[in-house]
């Protein structure tokens, strides 16, 4: 067996440094979110979330080291095996899982629970990367595309069965990876357009305005484009099709769905439509963040968070604590760190010399991006409330380990990018 050389020099220390900065800042904020002024608690107190989070962080360190020690070929070789084991476990979760907070997404091992869906992300990423990297794969081949969509659809469907909608939605971000690997932007554009149409139909009470809007766009395209008959016919057919879709969505939403179901969908888009449900969380979280001002109230000085008015304080809404105690400057630092981190991942992904590593790298970047964008977006009211964690910040062992594994497998692949070339 070939010995792995000391790779510490090849690991991308820039990424590791940002990772450590994010994890440390996250840990401090978990403490701040549960801190009680009068109890004189220590950040290491194991009865607090912060104490437990430190244990999770130490375990993450061990996991990260283990990943860099394992032979790099392991990840590609066993990608499919891991994938099928994952499917099997996800299938079992609704049967043997224990219920936490209304959904059955946890498996208990003794007194200890893990959330398999958090590990589904890196395993699915490995599987699709392996498929994209396989010999003879062509992104413009319909069959190959279908396999990719099945690869992300299976774990997504099983996670939806656990009623964990947030985590299931993360898998849609793989479409961006396909796009980077050569898929035609048609699907991406259609997807964004149909989502926009669906949302507009919900928000605008009378669909006639939408039809008029489409008419105007159509006329504009005809007047200002090339005036070829075939193009005009195609555009007109397209516009009619879209109008048809609007009518049918309108019908489904307004006649098939019951009023309370309609409200739930509307609330997903417009939190103000349901001031007692989603709206409550968003209003409270905005108040907490807004009260931080430019420079924040100072570490452990947040009061909104102490009122317990913001729900899920140390998990999904952890960004409130940052916003309240460190103000806009704190938000700036965290967002800048995340954007730098994401750009660095893209840079690393681009310097890979084989498709497997590059596709995996993009998967990593896209997954982190999705979590970052959706989590902070919902906290500040730009996005519907979807319960997914902010990577490295939200309290919780499974999610921290899931993200650590996701990242460090990529760093390991990156460290060996030269060898990959030799192997081929």
């Amino acid at each position: 067996m070939r010995r792995d050389y000391d790779i510490s020099g090849k690991i991308d220390w820039t990424t590791v440094t940002i990772y450590l900065a994010l994890v440390t800042f996250g840990w401090i904020n978990v403490f701040a979110s549960v801190y009680d002024e009068t109890a004189h608690q220590s950040i290491f107190d194991l009865s607090l979330n912060s104490g437990r989070q430190l244990m999770f962080i130490v375990a993450s360190g061990i996991i990260a080291i283990a990943i860099t020690i394992i032979d790099m070929r392991f990840y590609e070789t066993f990608a499919y095996v891991l994938y099928f084991v994952l499917l099997f476990i996800l299938f079992l979760v609704p049967i043997i899982g224990k219920e936490v907070g209304g959904n059955k997404a946890w498996i208990g091992i003794g007194s200890f629970g893990v959330q398999p869906s958090e590990f589904a992300k890196f395993i699915t990423a490995l599987a699709i990367a392996k498929y994209i990297g396989s010999v003879g794969f062509r992104m413009d081949n319909l069959r190959n595309q279908a396999v990719l969509f099945i690869l992300i659809g299976l774990p997504m469907g099983l996670i939806l069965l656990q009623k964990d909608t947030g985590t299931a939605l993360v898998f849609t971000i793989f479409i961006l990876v396909f796009f980077r690997e050569g898929m035609s932007p048609f699907l991406l554009v259609t997807g964004i357009c149909s989502a926009t149409i669906f949302i507009l139909t919900l928000l605008i009470p009378n669909p006639i305005y939408l039809h008029i809007g489409i008419g105007i766009i159509l006329i504009g395209l005809i007047i200002f484009g090339k005036k070829k008959v075939s193009r005009i016919v195609l555009l007109t057919i397209g516009a009619l099709l879209i109008s048809g879709v609007i009518e049918s969505v309108d019908y489904v939403v307004k006649d098939v769905l019951k009023p309370h179901q309609q409200n739930r969908i509307k609330a997903l888009i417009n939190p103000d439509a349901d001031p007692l449900g989603f709206g409550w969380n968003v209003t409270q979280s905005k108040i907490a963040i807004g009260s931080g001002g430019a420079f924040g109230k100072g570490f452990l000085k947040g009061t909104q968070t102490k009122f317990d008015f913001v729900p899920e304080q140390s998990t999904d809404f952890i960004f409130c604590t940052i916003g309240e105690e460190h103000g806009w400057m704190g938000s700036l630092i965290v967002i800048a760190l995340f954007v730098t981190f994401l750009l660095r991942l893209v840079f690393l992904a681009e310097r890979q010399k084989n498709r497997f590593a590059r596709a995996y790298g993009y998967s990593v970047a896209c997954i982190f991006f999705f979590h970052f964008a959706v989590n902070i977006g919902m906290t500040i009211g730009l996005f519907p409330v979807i319960g997914i964690p902010l990577p490295f910040f939200s309290y919780g062992g499974s999610s921290l380990w899931g993200f650590t594994i996701l990242l460090f497998i990529f760093l390991k692949l990156d460290a060996h990018r030269g060898q990959v070339l030799q192997r081929i």
Binding site: T283, D308, G327, F369
Partner: protein, 611 residues
């Protein structure tokens, strides 16, 4: 290929970051409203407690409603220059008491917080509130928190209604949805607990402006950030309050229960548990002291006998035996069995009354013990196996199946907590009881007449009477016939449950039950103008204590309107207290009044409680 796609990713990532920072700049720096909202000195956050749903009886009479109540809360960090002598004078406290109050506040370390509102004095009376209200602005940091407390229009129905009190620490831990906060009230038993989700409603939050002196100046930004509380759903009970109170009057001074059910729906008309308590005692200011008193009472008034007291059913079980034996075809209605009076094994089967060789109807009418001893033997020993041990085992398993189908042996699923199972002995049960030594019919025959190991709760007895009245099916008995605006009972109460007995066999049982009342042991339950079907039971307690008196009945025979079970502890023969109370209840419900003063007088003067 794929030129420029890398750049798209980079642009999107940076763009999202910039959008976030711009939005955050508006929320955090440019817009001062959020900071104002968070400042508890200028803006008061006022939690608005929702009204708990009302409970009415089947005719719309109000039973449970809400009255306002005021707590004095304090935010310790907001206290400024407290003039303690003035405070003591306004709130009628001594200095010592005030000091104690503050000590108590800080004693609960885990819950204590100087920035959160903490309960300081609970449940100010209306007079106190009026007096205090105007002077509250002299004491910054203190404020009144209004909430509602439960009130009852009646002194009855306590055990079915349950009570509401502050949520316990355990319940708070179990509340994963984080709906409740410390100090919140929650239904602790009865309907209040079972329908907690429907009754509780949803809290609201208001932001109110305050000036420097802490005086309220109206709502903030026209209430744009307020969330209104949502009142809980009202419940319509199936209880006939008048009948209920009459039943409680009859049970006065007795231990036991009355359960009356409308057979065609499973709606409970009356659910009497004796002895009981006045529900008004467990509400308002004296809750704690009264609760201590009631819960330590030796007669256990908090023990809800209709569903928690597991009794031997006694001879009313003969009806179940008869139906089971008919279904298994081990007897016919014409089967005659000679009554040998005394000398049966164990003495428990000794008989009474004048009869010698009865058929099934006669056996039931005269409640003949040897008849049913023989019926059960034929049931359990059908010769399906050669040795008597295995044969009994097979027969008993078969018997269990039929008995269980009437809802005996498991919770029926009434809409109240803490319902007990009762017990229908299974082969496995006897294996345990006999330590895995063999057992056969001669060991277990006393279940033939509802003695021995059988245990039944009064609710199951009434449900059984309803099942017979319906010729073989029942709806799960329930107390709430309509929830909220939907106006329907919970879905599980709209579903028929069929027994394993053919409906054709029920006619024989009903004939016999009519005969019981007309010429048999249940003559005290006979009523003019209506055909009552019933069965007596006398549960043997001699020589330790007086026997329990049991009666089940339904009326009218055709198109029954009410099915009932009466269980009176230590009241002797079922033919007396049991049959009389049952008939009075039926009469009251069907005719609105009772016409036999002597029966009522007899019951009202009897007291069977042994102190």
């Amino acid at each position: 290929m794929n030129e420029g796609r890398k750049e798209i990713f980079q642009i999107v990532f940076v763009l999202v970051g910039i959008i976030f920072l711009v939005k955050l700049f508006f929320v955090q720096v440019a817009d001062k409203r959020y900071a104002e909202l968070a400042d508890s000195n200028s803006i008061l956050r006022e939690v608005e407690y929702p009204f708990r749903g009302l409970i009415k009886d089947r005719y719309g009479k109000l039973i449970v409603y809400n009255t306002p109540e005021y707590d004095l809360d304090v935010v310790v960090n907001d206290i400024k220059g407290l003039d303690s002598s003035k405070f003591c004078q306004v709130f009628n406290l001594t200095r010592e008491e005030l000091r104690k109050k503050f000590k108590e506040l800080k004693a609960h370390k885990k819950e204590y917080s100087p920035v959160k509102p903490m309960l300081f004095i609970d449940r100010l009376s209306n007079e106190d509130f009026a007096k205090v209200q105007d002077r509250l602005d002299e004491f910054p940091g203190f404020f009144i928190q209004a909430r509602t407390t439960r009130s009852y229009t009646t002194s009855g129905l306590a055990n079915a209604l349950g009570y509401v009190s502050e949520i316990s620490k355990d319940d708070l831990k179990k509340d994963e949805a984080k709906f409740y906060k410390q100090g919140d009230y929650i239904g602790q038993s009865g309907i209040e607990a079972f329908y907690e989700k429907q009754l509780r409603g949803k809290r609201g939050l208001r932001f109110k402006l305050r000036d420097v002196k802490g005086i309220e100046k109206g709502s903030y930004q026209d209430g744009k950030y307020d969330t209104l509380s949502v009142p809980g759903e009202d419940l319509i009970s199936s209880i006939d309050l008048e009948l209920q109170l009459y039943g409680e009057k009859l049970m006065n001074g007795k231990a036991g229960s009355i359960v009356a059910i409308e057979p065609s729906t499973g709606e409970i008309l009356a659910l009497v548990s004796g002895p009981s308590y006045d529900p008004n005692l467990l509400t308002g200011r004296n809750y704690s002291s009264n609760f201590k008193l009631i819960s330590s009472d030796s007669m256990k008034p908090l023990f809800n006998r209709p569903l928690m007291a597991q009794y031997r059913p006694g001879s009313i079980f003969k009806i179940v035996q008869a139906l089971t034996a008919l279904q298994e075809k081990v007897i016919t209605p014409e089967t005659r069995i000679p009554c040998i009076r005394k000398g049966m094994p164990g003495g428990i089967m000794d008989c009474h009354g004048s009869h010698t060789n009865e058929d099934l109807r006669g056996g039931i009418t005269n409640s003949c013990n040897p008849y049913f001893y023989n019926v059960l033997r034929r049931m359990l020993n059908q010769g399906k196996a050669n040795d008597p041990y295995s044969d009994t085992r097979i027969g008993l398993a078969e018997w269990d199946k039929h008995i269980n189908s009437f809802g005996f042996g498991t919770q029926l699923g009434i809409d109240l907590p803490n319902e007990k199972n009762g017990l229908v002995p299974t082969p496995a049960y006897y294996d345990r009881a006999y330590n895995n030594r063999p057992w056969k019919f001669s060991n277990i025959y006393s279940i033939a007449i509802g003695e021995g190991e059988n245990l039944v709760v009064p609710l199951q007895m009434a449900n059984f009477a309803a099942t017979v009245a319906n010729h073989g099916y029942y709806y799960t008995p329930h107390l709430i016939k309509a929830v909220g605006k939907e106006g329907l009972p919970l879905p599980q109460f709209r579903e028929r449950h069929y027994t394993t007995i053919d409906s054709s066999y029920f006619k024989v049982a009903i004939d016999a039950m009519q005969q019981v009342v007309e010429e048999g042991t249940g003559r005290n339950a006979w009523l003019p103008d209506v055909v009552v079907c019933g069965k007596t039971g006398t549960v043997q307690m001699e020589p330790i204590a007086t026997d329990h008196s049991v009666f089940i009945a339904f009326a009218p025979r055709d198109n029954p309107k009410i099915a009932i079970s009466v269980y009176v502890e230590n009241a002797g023969q079922g033919a007396l207290a049991g049959a009389m109370i049952a008939s009075l209840m039926i009469e009251k419900y069907l005719f609105g009044a009772t016409r036999r003063q002597y029966v009522e007088d007899f019951i009202l003067t009897k007291k069977y409680l042994e102190f």
